[in-house]
Symmetry: C2
Subunit: 348 residues, 2 copies
DNA sequence: TTGAAAGCGCTAACAA
DNA sequence: TTGTTAGCGCTTTCAA
């Protein structure tokens, strides 16, 4: 079961040197003065025996495991978690770290989530990445912060941890600008009803962009509903059936846009001929499958995962100062992904 | 940085006993005869100091880390990975294990994937879960199997590893049966063009079910295309425009079903009034967002993850025999998820 | 009923 | 230039 029976000692005897020497050459210890021939011998022996370090023993000795605990909420719900995980994994591996994963329930009580954090802490992870599945303010478990911690897609009310979140506002601006650039002057927004940062920020981005373009944001139709296809259908129907319907529609997310597609179809409105639509989230499975393909704004999940891992490792490897080195929130751009749902309005 | 400074020794002095005794009582060592009062003292001290075991030290000593390496292909592509991860995490945690995650690229060469496996092996994982993102036959990295290994959603050509895969055939039967039960007698199938197990098995299930119902499977319309919405649209359009179109349509996956919805809409066919549709995969984001909701067949990703973790742990904890204890492939049911896309045919 | 001592595989002072 | 020695925190003979 124990896989690699051969250890540093075996290499030592094979090379005819001491374990210390083997350790020195294999770790490229700077202060060790070892003759080139000895180095060669050791490396050859190690290679030949197929030596692989036992990271557990190293960890015990060095008091660093090289493992990052990824505590992620609701891993299974969306593909978002996958992107965060992938970004974090890529970044971590590039720097010699590995991820240890624990799923935690967003809806669980503080005690349960504290237990989840404890599970990785026992494993002596060097640091923790705490990820949520949508941008929100997090009620952090009490034991978070016992090791350096970075928040992904979340902030805490007290702002004690460094964190990385999407630029919801900027993303909304990009979406509306795409509509504006295509020539639309009457643009509507269908928003989510939940009280989360993205709801208010996307609305703010929507309004500010219209205002900046010299339009009266107060006149722009805005309807809110649940952030799924049914909600999108309903909100879009309300807007499109109004007296003076918009020619461009910005949707809170791709699911709602999917509902808007249906509402448009029922009203005999073709996309993008009669109605241009922009979504948010870039859920490949949805945005890429709709017809016509949905122009949308991508959430930088991969980038947030990578940023968080890198930032955490920087903190770990930087001066072992207070661990709170560089708290504050970093905001990552949400780029527009152009597909085929935006065109010039029929009657500009 | 090192989080829990207090170790077994601290508890020992606090309780006025030896480290040995502390270890004994905290681990409930059966053969240790320790007085109830001593036990009480030790537990109180541990509790009071907030002692948490250092799993790394335990691992070094016990030669078991209690960590399972999850090597997963293309974690980010679909929500499937999330389900597998969740299932594996739940099962592993219930039995005191933790997951270590490594992403690997399905398209990468054997050498690169071997490196990915090596990364977790160095961490002394007790066993490995190797997961692919769709059911296929896997070209296993050479070092897989150095520790007990279970395959998730994949099999190897040589069948050397225990593995768990979805019952594609049974799922297809359930889908077709749903159509049959609703009264349809003319049923079509739009299939994937790729040569993967699901393509042939779902087709086989489709035909066998028709035959078993006394219909002539040879006459049933079958069209194949790429397994996305565009392919589904195209294949469905071909079938629906044919001389004698079916009243029920089974689709290789939900994406293709989404394309079929569009084809039906263009032909003025309402779902489920004029056409009943069944998908496969149960991609919540798609199946639940379509209108009407898509009746589909769920892939048991959560179950496969859980089964694999449990099976692996069984092997780990069972007699430390050959590790190949119980190779062979386990097949998990694909249940029908009923939404609203199936109804009785208009002209039975 | 309890404790002393050895050692898991590795690294790092310190000696030689 | 290299080797000896002492642990990292824990478990487990073995002895008391």
């Amino acid at each position: 079961m124990a896989r690699s029976n051969i250890g540093i000692k075996d290499v030592a005897v094979a090379a005819g040197v001491s374990a210390t020497t083997v350790s020195h050459v294999l770790n490229d210890v700077t202060y060790a003065r070892i003759s080139p021939e000895t180095r060669k011998k050791v490396k050859a022996a190690a290679e030949q025996l197929g030596y692989e370090p036992n990271r557990v023993a190293q960890a015990l000795r060095n008091r660093r495991t090289g493992v990052l605990g990824l505590v992620s909420e609701d891993v299974a719900t969306t593909p978002h978690a996958g992107r965060i995980i992938l970004g974090a994994d890529d970044a971590a591996r590039a720097r010699g770290y590995t991820l240890m994963l624990i799923n935690t329930a967003a809806t669980a009580g503080a005690a349960s989530r504290e237990g989840d954090v404890e599970a990785v802490l026992e494993r002596q992870v060097d640091g923790i990445l705490y990820a949520t599945m949508y941008h929100r303010v997090l009620d952090a478990p009490a034991n978070l912060g016992k090791v350096p911690t970075v928040l992904v897609d979340a902030v805490t009310a007290d702002g004690l941890f460094p964190s990385v979140v999407p630029d919801e506002y900027g993303g909304a601006r990009a979406a509306v600008r795409a509509l504006l650039d295509a020539g639309h002057t009457r643009i509507g927004f269908i928003n989510n009803v939940q009280d989360v940062p993205s709801t208010s920020e996307r609305l703010r981005g929507f309004r500010d962009t219209l205002t900046a373009a010299g339009l009266d944001a107060g006149l722009a139709p805005v309807e809110a509903s649940s952030s799924d296809a049914a909600g999108g259908y309903e909100a879009a129907a309300r807007i499109l059936r109004s007296g003076h319907p918009p020619s461009g529609l910005f949707c809170y997310n791709d699911q709602m846009a999917m509902g808007a597609y249906r509402a448009a179809a029922e009203l005999g409105l073709s996309i993008p001929g009669d109605l241009s639509v922009v979504g948010f989230d870039d859920q490949e499975l949805v945005a890429g499958s709709l017809f016509p393909g949905l122009t949308t704004v991508a959430l930088p999940h991969y980038g947030m995962g990578a940023w968080a891992a890198n930032h955490l490792i920087d903190a770990l490897e930087g001066a072992g100062d207070g661990s709170s080195a560089g708290a504050g929130t970093t905001v990552l751009e949400c780029p527009l992904v152009t597909r085929a749902s935006v065109a010039a309005p029929r009657n500009p």
